[in-house]
């Protein structure tokens, strides 16, 4: 087949296909990874369902079925949140792999975005049977209309972009210090509490929910889950998408700025 895709769309298409080929070579490893990842939400889910049971069927108005819906959607959103991390940056700088990327006429972020996006398609295919089993076991309550489904499909990619951009910016700290893991741990802890990963944001105390509202984490986790598993109004659905767009803009700007300064430093110091 003759393809004449050129420019960035061409690059994305080729890299995404490459990622799919690569990841399908590691079906077993990917499955083991996915199954391991299921343990975390299942623990949360069992805890909250138990609490709900002991409080007459609901916690702060969230029923056991709604908790099940939340944490099953969680498993997919968590996979959309897998991006190129600062650990990857450490490796890239220490082993000089970045040099190879810098002499190519394309910004390396495109490669990472495309590669991890391609990987998602493999993950989604592998996730479907796991989700089916979880549905059978935990009996979630879903009430999804077409608009919510559509917004969800956009929101999970918005979540992917936000987390990719922010972690790319954080990873670039490696330009200054070759150990960025401590900062990443800090980011990770804040994210765990304020994104909706550990518990639905509705269960946070008021002040913490306010903090979560003004940080990007919520838009990578809690918001896309709520779109499908929660009860957001049409206005809230679109406001969420709008705020995701804002955070994508902020992330892109941050990446551009840190990249400009960081590459200058890298080029001054070498590796």
């Amino acid at each position: 087949m003759t393809k004449s895709l050129n420019g960035l769309p061409g690059l994305y298409s080729v890299v995404m296909r490459t990622a799919v080929q690569t990841q399908f070579q590691y079906r077993t490893a990917n499955y083991a990874y996915l199954l391991g990842m299921i343990a975390e939400p299942v623990i949360y889910l069992v805890v909250w369902q138990t609490v709900a049971g002991s409080q007459g069927g609901a916690v702060e108005g969230i029923t056991a079925g709604q908790f099940a819906a939340y944490y099953i959607v969680w498993t997919l959103v968590r996979n959309m949140n897998i991006v190129f991390t600062p650990y990857g940056w450490e490796d890239r700088i220490r082993n000089g792999l970045l040099s190879g990327m810098l002499v190519r006429p394309v910004h390396p972020i495109h490669y990472d975005l495309a590669f991890f996006a391609g990987w998602k398609f493999v993950v989604i295919v592998l996730w479907l049977p796991i989700a089916a089993v979880l549905v059978l076991i935990f009996r979630p309550t879903f009430d999804v209309n077409a608009l919510e489904a559509g917004v969800f499909l956009i929101a999970i990619w918005g979540a992917y972009l936000i987390r990719s951009l922010f972690l790319w910016a954080l990873g670039m700290v490696t330009f200054w210090t070759t150990r960025v893991s401590a900062l990443y741990e800090l980011y990770f802890t804040a994210e765990l509490l304020l994104s909706g990963r550990l518990l639905p944001l509705a269960l946070l105390p008021g002040w913490a929910a306010t903090v979560a509202d003004v940080l990007p984490f919520k838009y990578t986790f809690g918001y896309p889950i709520e779109v499908l598993a929660g009860d957001l109004s049409t206005a809230e659905l679109f406001l969420g998408l709008g705020l995701q767009a804002v955070w994508i803009g902020v992330g892109a700007l941050l990446v551009a700025l840190v990249w400009r300064v960081g590459v200058r430093r890298y080029s001054a110091v070498g590796n």
Partner: protein, 340 residues
């Protein structure tokens, strides 16, 4: 009058100074360095200048730490020079303009750019997208390179299953698909067996002939340099010691040749003809001043029953050693460590 060959690479007074933290070994020094760090300025490249005309292959030689790789990195845009100027194909490399990056390639022997888990052919596709190579050109160049390097079978296997040499060939193929005009090759044959080295050498010579590419090559293998480069630049401690023809290098720095004679009789004393390097079973090697080799050969042929006589230039490694010995090493580092 013929048109002068255009200059592809122009380097003037290029300098790169690194600030390197340093401390003594041990716990005490480690704790002290928390409070007061000591740095030393190291001139990795200390003001080098050269021009390379289009289509020339130049060998860039020197011991480890001489400044070769740092210079290549500045030429390819990976490092900003501390001072001095570089112009390659009219571009300033450190700006890393896409037009420039599309016209050059940097091959570093120990860096892996191919995707590990998939066949090289798929990585080639990725390069087509990265360099925006039109489909027809891509196929033509890819097939040509695959044929020249004889890697038709290799490129269909996952890269992780290839041997070091096979991978290197695939790496070189990947880095030339966009048909770069400028090639920076840093130890392209490192760790490869002799046959594989030879294959890569003849491939590079053919690529240069076919596309008129300009090549700057570093290698510790003199065979690479002798096979490919008419001109060499020798660098040590960041400064150029020699820039000129490979043949002239030998003339200038090694005024001697070796005359080997095989005599049909018991070896006589030949010390009157030159310095006797060895004498075993009638096979005698003499070190003779270049200017005298013809007359010494003639005298030997006249005086003895000579069954064989050869005249050899000294090995290029020895000549280069002579260069290092002849030129005093410049002080590459500043006198005292500077606390900051």
């Amino acid at each position: 009058m013929p048109e002068p060959t255009p200059v592809d690479i122009r380097v003037s007074e290029l300098r790169k100074t690194f600030r390197v933290p340093e401390r003594e070994a041990g716990l005490r020094a480690s704790v002290r360095s928390l409070v007061r760090r000591t740095y030393r300025d190291v001139d990795a490249v200390a003001g080098v200048s050269f021009d390379i005309p289009a289509g020339q292959i130049v060998g860039f030689l020197g011991p480890n730490g001489a400044g070769k790789t740092t210079t290549l990195k500045m030429l390819s845009g990976l490092l900003f020079p501390t001072s001095g100027e570089i112009s390659v194909l009219g571009h300033v490399p450190s700006r890393r303009e896409r037009d420039y990056l599309r016209r050059m390639t940097l091959v570093m022997g120990n860096r892996n750019q191919l995707q590990w888990d998939i066949p090289a052919l798929d990585s080639f596709e990725m390069n087509r997208a990265i360099y925006r190579i039109p489909e027809a050109d891509f196929r033509r160049t890819r097939d040509e390179i695959v044929e020249l390097l004889e890697i038709g079978d290799l490129v269909r296997k996952p890269v992780r299953t290839l041997s070091l040499g096979e991978r290197m060939k695939a790496e070189i193929a990947a880095s030339l698909l966009h048909r770069p005009q400028i090639l920076y090759l840093d130890e392209p044959t490192i760790g490869l067996d002799v046959t594989m080295q030879k294959r890569i050498r003849s491939f590079l010579a053919e690529y240069n002939r076919r596309y008129g590419a300009t090549v700057l090559l570093t290698s510790h293998y003199m065979a690479d340099v002798q096979a490919l480069c008419k001109r060499v630049i020798i660098i040590d401690s960041g400064s150029i010691l020699y820039d000129g023809g490979l043949r002239e290098l030998s003339t200038r720095y090694s005024p001697h040749q070796t005359v080997n004679v095989v005599l049909g009789e018991t070896a006589p004393d030949l010390s009157g003809y030159g310095e006797v390097l060895s004498s075993v079973d009638g096979r005698i090697s003499l070190k003779v001043a270049k200017a005298d080799t013809s007359s010494v050969a003639a005298r030997l042929l006249a005086a003895f029953q000579v069954s064989d006589l050869t005249i050899e230039d000294p090995p290029i490694e020895d000549v280069i050693e002579q260069v290092f010995a002849a030129v005093p090493r410049s002080a590459a580092t500043s006198a005292e460590p500077v606390p900051r």
